[in-house]
Amino acid sequence: MPKRDLISMEDLSRGDIELLLDTAESFLPVLERDIKKVPTLRGRTIINLFWEPSPRTSSSYDLAAKRLSADTLVFRGTGTGAGVNVERGEALKDTAITMDAYSPDIIIMRHPSAGACRTLSANTTASVINAGDGMHQDPTQCLLDLFALRQAFGRELKDLKVFIVGDILHSRVARSDVMGFRMLGMDVTLVAPPTLMPRGIEQMGVTVEYDLTNLKDADVVYVLRMDAERAEPGSAYLPSLREYAALWGVSRARLRPGQRVMHPGPINRGAEITADVADDDENLIAHQVFSGLAVRMAVLYRTTVGYSDTSAEEEVL
């Protein structure tokens, strides 16, 4: 079987996505057992390679691998500061070659540069799973978002109306979500200040809006984190976080009953979302976090055994 990477949502077909979500669902009972472990990936080696600190994502992957009985290693890359680009590139290639000596089955990588997963994949026999590369992609975030949506709305997500609100320009989550949501037939509207809306993004099959006037049409409001640095002098994307919150912040007053709110975390309360919305039991934010484990187990499992064989998992479980 040739190795299979998951670098972008473009690597998946609609059928692949459905299969991953089904597989994730089949893992749910495992997570409720006393002994939350299956022997599925026993003897497999999975490496977590994080060039940016992200303890939550890293530990979610690590636990997912351990639940499947894989042997795991965690490497934290260094040199993520500015001005060491070339050295870092060399280090990535050399790190890949070094790790290959351990014959890993899967390397999960987070890296600040778009395209880093390609460099890694070219230098390792392991399958590469992208845990976030620059502003490019974060495919498992999209999959876990879809999983949480399924839990809330049922299996059929076609024509569900989603508004993604915030810093679209810098968001790999938005890019992965747009691709995945569109593949499943969802209706996606992007809302951002004009300075944070990528030119040409409408060609991904989305509606582009610059204010929240039509927010009431949404079934789901997906809120992106707004970093304070976008309002810092010199960056000039926003005059202030205060004005952002006033014009694009998602608050109770802007929502109608029944709308479900999502957020990939970490939350910047008072900027992109008000506390009453963030703390509301009706939002799907906790579901997203919970979904992460099952979805990442499914991705590790499918990457190892393939996307075609559906009998194996039933046998294992």
Binding site: S113, A114, R118, Q203
Partner: protein, 438 residues
Amino acid sequence: MERTWHKQLPAADLLVQGGRVVDPGTGVDAVQDVLIAEGKVAQLGKGLVAPAGARVVDAAGMLVLPGLVDLHAHFRTPGREDEEDLATVSAAAAAGGYVAAFGMANTDPVTDSAGLLRGLARQAEQDALVPLGFYAAVTRGLCGEQLTEMGELGAAGAVGFSDDGCALPTAAITRRALQYAKVSGRFVAVHAEDGSLHEGGQMHEGPASARLGLTGIPSLCESLDVARALDIAAYEDASVHVCHVSSEDSLRTIAKAKEAGVRVTAEVTPHHLTLVDEQVASFDPNFKMNPPLRAERDRRALVEALRSGLVDCVATDHAPHSPEEKDAPFEEAPFGVVGLETAFSVLYGALVVSGEIPLATLVTRMSSAPARIAGLQAPAVAAGAVADLCVVDPQAVWTVTAAGLRSRSHNSPWLGRELTGKVRLTVAAGRVAWDDLA
């Protein structure tokens, strides 16, 4: 005044038999024998007989063209001889059909003094298979602050002045450069780029950059600076050459300036004529260049501009990079690709075979037009001229491989691709510089 230098190889004595001579300069497009004696074209005609000792080249089915001239390459010498030197770059040029090439001044140290330029000339006399010439910097150290000694640099043989690789940062220094370059009689070549719009940029800004999450470089970044340079040239009645035009907006500005009588010339690269931003989706750093590959409509506009002559010439922007630097994540890789060995084949296959541009037009844009901008005698396949020509097999289909390139660096976007048309023989300054007929 010498503007190029090369090593003294034995003068060629050749009879190139039965090829189709296409020389737009003399208006010849016919099957002719070409007799070269002691490095000069002695005679064109049918049924010519080779004198004793002359080599006979069977060029039946091949094209015999005036040699190509590249106004824009990076020789990486001095400073980065691990990436390219004058021997390897001239070998690459010869293999691409070039009979002259000019290196930009963004070397290490920067080519900004006459002493350094003279040293490069001496080195070319030792190492260069085809005539090489050199730009001098517009500003010392490419810092954009203080002009170089253009009078002395011109006298030392600089072909022109350019800070290519860096934009001239202010209107004031651009103006001073265009004013002062007149003392040298040489042209100023502008790398047009508004630095404030370029910061952090990785690729053309458009639907592809939006989808891929790579910071965009808007076409505005180029066209604004082109407009500024051309307005200054008009105001100062100075001549200016625009490097590597990539966008339709810049073309519109150049067209307006040309109509108004501004003395502007412009070049376009083979990659901007044939590749587009969507290719970056592979995240292959060999599709990362500056200016970036643009949208399909820009590409089409560039092809039309090359055909019409709005853009005067093709230039490769041959930019060798070591694998240590280029084989990195896309966002961390440097800009630039090599191009000397593939330029003619790429354009012949993509533009001539497809019928978009007549062969004679392509030859003009790659040979006489850049030669005139450089102040060289235009290469000609004509009796009495120095033999500066190349023989191309238009049927040959070949695959670009790293091992097959003569350049020391292999960062080509055409690696692994099949190209149509192969240069089989290059005679530069009367010497055989490339021979792939054996």
